[in-house]
Every structure is written in structure tokens, then in C-alpha cells.
């Protein structure tokens, strides 16, 4: 009978040996402060390794396979706000302009002219065809811009467009009218959120059908969507520009992070998104794979519900802030792949002002607690949903608050319950993140406008005024001054406590070239070339 037991233990040992037999370089975990990914130079330079002039490689590949972490709800960039949609739609649609080396270069629009503060004249290319064969005309551009203005997912970027008076002057020119002066307009027109859709195709089917079978002008054409499994795109024969180095693009949906890493290592996929930080070092060491990382345009923050009687009290917010070691929170929660947040938007965004990070001073925190009348203890509560990084931040903060006598309970609910609690203002405290869709302060501070502030609920008109001013002045120097004043004010009021600037990244096979890290997280697939 003893043999039975011995066998059981032997089998278990065998299993664990297999699991951990891979060469776990148990080097000391990255102590905070030193970024362990040598590959990324100082985080401020967003371009990553400098541009090696890609030799015109004749190497063509049949399929470019990309692994996504979740299935997009739609491929229509105007009907969603999630990366998975934009990654799927990037190669199908094209914007009016593109940014190359910081310069606005013509793309679908050949030239632009700011007639006055409220009107912009665009001249378009005349040789662009849609996937359904129709020619792209000014009407399509007007239709796309108006669609962008009205859809609630993109109204933050294109809401300023006056949909009645924007019209096509002729086949190739469009006159865009604005309701109020709007500085980030051109920036928006050069982003992945601006997509010229075929008016005819859109109107021939209803909005949702278009979302599942989009028609654009991009180098890749939509072919098939096998729900839950993959989206297949194929090369567009009559594409007006330079054809990509691959015939088809297959976007596979692999939910499990470790499976995406494994597929990258075994060559099952060429590019994989949302690789968990734990695997970054292994993918870098592996000769067959490379990691493309850099500071994203997002910011993770501790969000107070300022309409709540307790967290509306500035003393309490600051007491909590002083008890938190922001540096440690960022490093632990993101396993070293994040910098402590010292401002209200990512550093790569023009207009960013360094105001923090918040001083870690438990003594001061206790003082403020006494001032606020909570010297013998304070009860606080976090509500969150299943999200690896937010939960990590909250658990780290929870144990830090314990040091200063603030007992903190965490309630984990599922996403739907969380969203409805958020809308009804029932969230006490939580950790969230906002990411700018275009490198412009207006988009980075998306959580602050009064009409949109369902989580912060600060109802501070002064913030709204500054936001409007910043958005409506065209001169960059004046905008920077306005946003600097706003960021100082926000730092003073501390309606939210910035925690981390996450370093994001995606993995690729080493034979993928001309494919760099982009802060928005939506790379240009068509430009990809292949080595060997």
C-alpha cells in the first residue's frame, strides 16, 4: 500500500520538475528605480531604436499573423473605444494625414489651409478607390467627419465639427466648419481614430453590419470574421499607395496571456499584443523574438468620488495620498514595467508638466487625519473589477494605508456591476486608467470635462473653463501655459492621485522589420517588411 503513496508523490514531483525546469534566471527581481528593460532608452524619446534605413527587401510572406488579447466588438473605429477595434481596423481605413518624424505629412488629403479660426479647407487625392470599387470623393470625407462628430465614442475628438455647414466644395476639396476654435483638429485627423469610410457602403447596410464588414481605402481589405477565433484581411489590389510585403493579415483572438507568449515563441504568430510583463525579459533574450516597449500615453490613477461626503474632503484625500508610496505602487503593481506618475498625463504628450510624484510622508498623513477629525482611525472602501493591474495597485495601497491606521476594505464586483455603480456615483474609491488617443492634452485629460466626469464628479467649473480655453487656442505656447496652470490647480485640489505611467509593449518575431513601438499602441502594419 505504501507503494501507492510513493507513486503519488513521485508523479507530483515529476510534474513540478517539468514546470520549473526552464532556466528561471532567478536574478534578483528588478529593485525599484532601475528600469530593467535595457532596450528602451530614456523613456522620454518615444521613437525607440533609431530608424535603420530598411533595405528594399524583396522577401514577401503570405500571412502576417497578429494575436489580440480579446475579440473586438466591432471593426468600425467610430463605434468603439477599445484598442482591439483600432488594431483590427488600422490596415483597413486610412486617415487624412499621417505623422512621420513629428511632421504632419499628407496622406488621403494632399494639402490643408486654415482659412480662419472656424474653417479649414482640405484638398484630397483623386486617385483613391474604396474596397468596393467606388472612387473616394469629398462627400465620403464629409460623411466620415460628420459621423465622427456625432458618434459618442469619438465626439471628444471631432465634436467641434459643425455638421450642418461642413460641405464638399467640389470632388477634391472639403470645407470643414467648426462650432468653436478647436486646436487638436489636425492632430485628430492624423490619428487612427480618423477613418475615411465609404458613404455608399455605410448607407447600404445598417451601422452594426458595417461594423462587421467594413469598407475603407486601406491596403488591406476585410475578408472574413470567424467569431471568437479570427479576423482575416486580404491585400487590396487597386490600393493607391505602396503595397504591403504580405498578402493576407490574420488577426487571431487568444485570450490567455501565456498562450500569446507561447505562440510568439513557437512562431504560431508574428506579432502579439498585451504580453504580460513577466514574459518581457524572456522574449528579449530569445533570439527568435523581440520586444517593442516604451511609455504608453496612458496614466493609472487613484480615483476619488469627490461628490462623496468623505472623499470630497480635501484633507482626507491628501491624508490618503501622503500615506501612499507612489513609486512602490507603480513598481510592484506593474512588476517593474511602469514609472511613478509625476503628472496628470503621459510625459510624451505636449503640454505635460511635471508636478509630482506625491510625497510619501506617513507622519504628515497622520497629522492631516487628526486635522480632519479621524485621529482614531478611518474606514475607507475600494470597489473594483477583475483587472490585474488595478487590483494589484489597490492591494498594495491597502497595506500602505494600514500603516497609518486607515483600514481599507476591497469589494470585487464583475465589470457590469462596476460600470452601473460608476454611473450612479456609488463608487467610493477605485483605481482606473485613461489613455490619450492622440498626443494632445485635450485628449489626455478626457476624464475632467464636466459632461464626462462620471467617476471623479468634481463639478469644479474652474477646471472646465481652463479645459475650454486650452482646447480653443491655436497657438501652442499659449496652450502650454493654460494647461500648466490647469495641472498646478489639479495638483493643488488633488481630485485624483496619479499613480503610474505604464510601460506597454508588444512582441514580434525577430524577422519583422520596420515595425517600431508607437505610444498610441496602434502600429502601422502596412509598413512592415521581413528579414531573411
Amino acid at each position: 500500500m505504501k507503494k501507492l503513496l510513493v507513486l503519488a508523490l513521485a508523479f507530483m514531483m515529476l510534474l513540478s520538475v517539468i514546470a520549473c525546469s526552464n532556466p528561471t534566471t532567478s536574478d534578483p527581481t528588478p529593485d525599484p528605480g532601475q528600469t530593467n528593460t535595457e532596450a528602451t532608452p530614456a523613456p522620454t524619446d518615444a521613437q525607440g531604436t533609431e530608424e535603420t534605413p530598411a533595405a528594399p527587401s524583396a522577401v514577401r510572406k503570405e500571412n502576417l499573423v497578429v494575436a489580440l488579447q480579446a475579440e473586438p466588438q466591432t471593426i468600425d473605429p467610430y463605434a468603439a473605444s477599445h484598442d482591439t477595434t483600432f488594431i483590427s481596423s488600422e490596415a483597413i481605413f486610412e486617415p487624412l494625414f499621417k505623422y512621420e518624424d513629428g511632421e504632419l505629412t499628407p496622406w488621403l488629403a494632399t494639402a490643408y489651409e486654415m482659412v480662419d479660426d472656424l474653417t479649414l479647407k482640405l484638398t484630397l487625392r483623386d486617385d483613391v478607390l474604396f474596397h468596393d470599387g467606388n472612387k473616394m470623393t469629398a462627400d465620403d470625407v464629409v460623411f466620415s467627419l460628420c459621423y465622427g462628430a456625432t458618434s459618442n465614442f469619438t465626439s471628444t475628438l471631432f465634436g467641434a465639427i459643425d455638421t450642418e455647414n461642413t460641405k464638399a466644395l467640389d470632388e477634391q476639396t472639403v470645407e470643414v466648419k467648426l462650432l468653436y476654435p478647436y486646436a487638436p483638429l489636425l492632430e485628430a485627423m492624423a490619428s487612427h481614430r480618423c477613418a475615411i469610410v465609404s458613404k455608399a457602403a455605410y448607407e447600404s447596410m445598417d451601422a452594426d453590419a458595417f461594423g462587421r464588414a467594413p469598407v475603407g481605402t486601406g491596403p488591406m481589405m476585410f475578408k472574413e470574421w470567424v467569431s471568437g477565433d479570427r479576423i482575416e484581411l486580404t491585400g487590396f489590389e487597386q490600393y493607391w499607395g505602396e503595397k504591403p510585403a504580405f498578402d493576407n493579415m490574420i488577426i487571431r483572438i487568444i485570450l490567455e496571456a501565456s498562450s500569446r507568449t507561447v505562440e510568439l515563441e513557437t512562431g504560431g504568430v508574428d506579432i502579439a499584443f498585451q504580453i504580460s510583463p513577466v514574459d518581457w525579459s524572456r522574449l528579449e533574450e530569445n533570439p527568435d523574438t523581440q520586444m517593442l516597449t516604451g511609455n504608453s500615453m496612458g496614466m493609472t490613477y487613484l480615483c476619488f468620488n469627490n461628490s462623496n461626503e468623505l472623499y470630497g474632503n480635501e484633507l482626507v484625500r491628501k491624508a490618503i495620498a501622503y500615506a501612499i508610496n507612489v513609486e512602490a505602487v507603480a513598481k510592484t503593481a506593474y512588476q517593474g514595467q511602469a514609472d511613478a506618475a509625476d503628472g496628470f498625463m503621459a510625459r510624451s504628450i505636449p503640454g505635460y508638466k511635471k508636478v509630482g510624484p506625491w510625497e510619501y510622508n506617513p507622519e504628515k498623513s497622520k497629522e492631516l487625519l487628526k486635522q480632519a477629525g479621524y485621529e482614531n482611525g478611518l474606514e475607507v472602501k475600494f470597489v473594483t473589477f477583475q483587472q490585474q493591474y488595478y487590483n494589484a495597485c489597490i492591494e498594495v495601497i491597502q497595506s500602505m494605508l494600514k500603516e497609518v491606521g486607515i483600514t481599507c476594505s476591497i469589494e470585487m464586483v464583475d465589470l457590469a456591476t462596476f460600470t452601473s455603480m460608476n454611473n450612479n456615483g456609488e463608487l467610493p474609491m477605485t483605481v482606473m486608467a485613461n489613455s490619450a488617443s492622440i498626443p494632445d492634452p485635450a485628449s489626455a485629460l478626457i476624464a475632467w470635462p464636466l459632461s464626462r466626469t462620471i467617476s471623479l464628479r468634481h463639478n469644479d467649473q474652474h477646471i472646465q473653463d481652463l479645459l475650454d480655453q486650452g482646447e480653443r487656442t491655436y497657438a501652442m505656447e499659449d496652450r502650454v501655459k493654460i494647461y500648466a496652470e490647469l495641472q498646478d490647480y489639479l495638483w493643488e485640489k488633488l481630485y485624483l492621485l496619479p499613480l503610474a505611467f505604464p510601460i506597454t509593449g508588444y512582441g514580434a518575431r525577430s524577422n519583422i522589420q520596420n515595425f517600431d513601438f508607437v505610444p498610441t499602441g496602434i502600429p502601422d502594419f502596412a509598413a512592415i517588411t521581413f528579414a531573411e
Binding site: 528561471t24 512602490a328 492591494e395 469589494e411
Partner: protein, 292 residues
């Protein structure tokens, strides 16, 4: 003590329990199972003494340390000592495992016995409600309950209990039906025993074996269900440790820090292994036909 063959003395009447214990103690494997269970229960009760660190104490200097002397099972991504969390986790996991099982078994057995014993319409009604309950996936049940009365152990407990009722009912019904036709049940009916008396005194002891097997299997499943609930964010509330959620969270670190997955995994496996060994032993001991 050897019972003398020839001695005419009366044989000492041993109670059913002693009889089962005598036969059970001979089965070494069942004893091993019982020993492991005893250890687990003791660790659960004296967790505060056994665990070297409080389960929620974080140490940012020592995140993701592989097993060493000060951290027997290494540390997790927050620098918390995994050994202490496994020790405290035994408390939650055993609590969830056993209580949900008791609930599910109790209701399930009652329904099963009634359905099996009376048959006919009552049997049909009970069985169809069981099919309905069985048809609803445990996860839907868990989410609904967790969302209405708030997430946490209690909701996970209820979800697990409710979803294990159909299995128990079906097992008990089948066993009751086979036992019901036996002569001794008719004998006690002829002696004027009313139905509840018969079910409790005669039918239950004889169908204890399948119930035990279902119970020992059930506990393992309910602990693992807790893992899938926490995987959905509905399980135990952080920072409370629970083996299942520790396992599913450690998944992302499995490649480089495999020790994080192994310790909770082995804890679950040991518990379920012990339960099954003890359960099998108990079943054999209770089943007179099984002469070794």
C-alpha cells in the same frame, strides 16, 4: 484479542461505529488520508500560530522571491509569504469545501431519498426540478448570487451548494431505488415502520457508500469552482487567501516563477487526495459485502 473458537461465551455486541472503525483502521491508505485531513484541520484552526507572517503583509523589497528559508514557499508579486497564505488559505478552502458540501448533500439527499422511495409523480417532479437546477451552469448561478448579495465567500458557498444538490439527489435516488426493493425494507414495512423511520433507519445506512464517494469527489470540485469564480472576479475578496484564487492569479507567473503555482496546486491536490483515500476507505469499511 483472539476470540477463542471453542469458547461458548456470547460475542460482545459491537456498535456499528466500532465495527466500521475496526475495519477502517486496517486499511492503511485510509489512515494516511485521515492523517493528512487531521493535519489540514489543525493547520486551519491554528493558522495564526503556524503561519510565520500575517497573510496580507507585503514586502516590496522581496517580491517574487523563489523559496528560501525565511519564505518556505517563496513570495508572490506583492512580496507576501506564500506559505502563510497557503496555511490561512486552508481555512477558507476547507470552510467553503465542507460547508457547501454539507448544504448540497443535505438537501440533495433528502430530495433524492424522497424521490427514490416514493417514486411515481413525486419522483418525476423532484427529478425534473433537479434537471432544471442541473441545466443552469454553476457559473451563471454564482454570478447572479454574487451580484445580488455581494461577492465573497458566502455567495460562492451558496452557488457551490445549490449546484451540487442535483448530483447528490440523483445519486441518492438511484441508490434508494435499488435498496427499496430489498426484502429487509419490506420486512420493516411489515413490522409497521412508518416511511420516515424506514428511510432513516434502513435506507440511509445502506446508501451511505455512494453518498460518501460523491461527497469526497464533490469537495475537490467545489474548491476548484472557487478558483474559477475568483478567475471571474467573484470569489473571495482580496486580500483574503484562498487556494483556488491563488492558483488562478499565479497563472501569469507560471513560466518563470513556477513555485507560485505549485504550492497552492499541491495543497488542493493533497486535500482532495486525502479526502478520496479516506472516502474510499470509509466506503469499503461500511460495505459488508467487500471482504478483503
Amino acid at each position: 484479542m483472539k476470540k477463542k473458537g471453542t469458547e461458548q461465551g456470547h460475542i460482545k455486541k459491537r456498535s456499528q461505529f466500532q465495527e466500521t472503525w475496526k475495519r477502517l483502521s486496517k486499511n492503511r491508505l485510509a489512515m494516511v488520508g485521515l492523517a493528512i485531513l487531521a493535519i489540514l484541520v489543525i493547520t486551519a484552526i491554528f493558522a495564526d500560530l503556524i503561519a510565520p507572517y500575517p497573510y496580507d503583509e507585503q514586502d516590496y523589497m522581496a517580491t517574487l522571491q523563489s523559496p528560501s528559508w525565511e519564505h518556505l514557499m517563496g513570495t508572490d508579486e506583492y512580496g507576501r509569504d506564500i506559505f502563510s497564505r497557503v496555511v490561512y488559505g486552508s481555512r477558507t478552502s476547507l470552510y467553503v469545501g465542507f460547508i457547501s458540501l454539507m448544504g448540497g448533500a443535505l438537501i440533495g439527499c433528502i430530495f433524492g431519498a424522497i424521490a427514490g422511495f416514493f417514486g411515481g409523480k413525486t419522483d418525476n417532479i423532484i427529478m425534473r426540478t433537479c434537471d432544471v437546477l442541473h441545466g443552469i451552469p454553476q457559473i451563471v448561478l454564482a454570478i447572479a448570487i454574487a451580484s445580488t448579495i455581494g461577492p465573497g465567500i458566502t455567495s460562492a458557498l451558496i452557488a457551490v451548494a445549490v449546484s451540487s444538490v442535483p448530483n447528490f439527489a440523483r445519486v441518492v435516488r438511484a441508490a434508494t431505488m435499488t435498496v427499496r426493493d430489498q426484502e429487509y425494507v419490506e420486512a420493516s414495512q411489515s413490522l409497521g415502520g412508518n416511511n420516515t423511520h424506514i428511510i432513516v433507519r434502513h435506507i440511509f445506512p445502506n446508501i451511505l457508500a455512494p453518498i460518501i464517494v460523491q461527497a469526497t469527489l464533490g469537495i475537490g470540485k467545489s474548491i476548484l469552482l472557487c478558483a474559477s469564480l475568483s478567475f471571474l472576479g467573484l470569489g473571495v475578496q482580496p486580500p483574503m487567501p484562498e487556494w483556488g484564487s491563488m492558483l488562478s492569479n499565479a497563472r501569469t507567473f507560471m513560466r518563470d516563477y513556477s513555485y507560485m503555482v505549485i504550492s497552492p496546486g499541491i495543497a488542493i491536490m493533497l486535500t482532495v487526495l486525502a479526502l478520496n483515500l479516506f472516502g474510499d476507505g470509509l466506503r469499503d469499511a461500511l460495505d459488508p459485502k467487500l471482504k478483503k
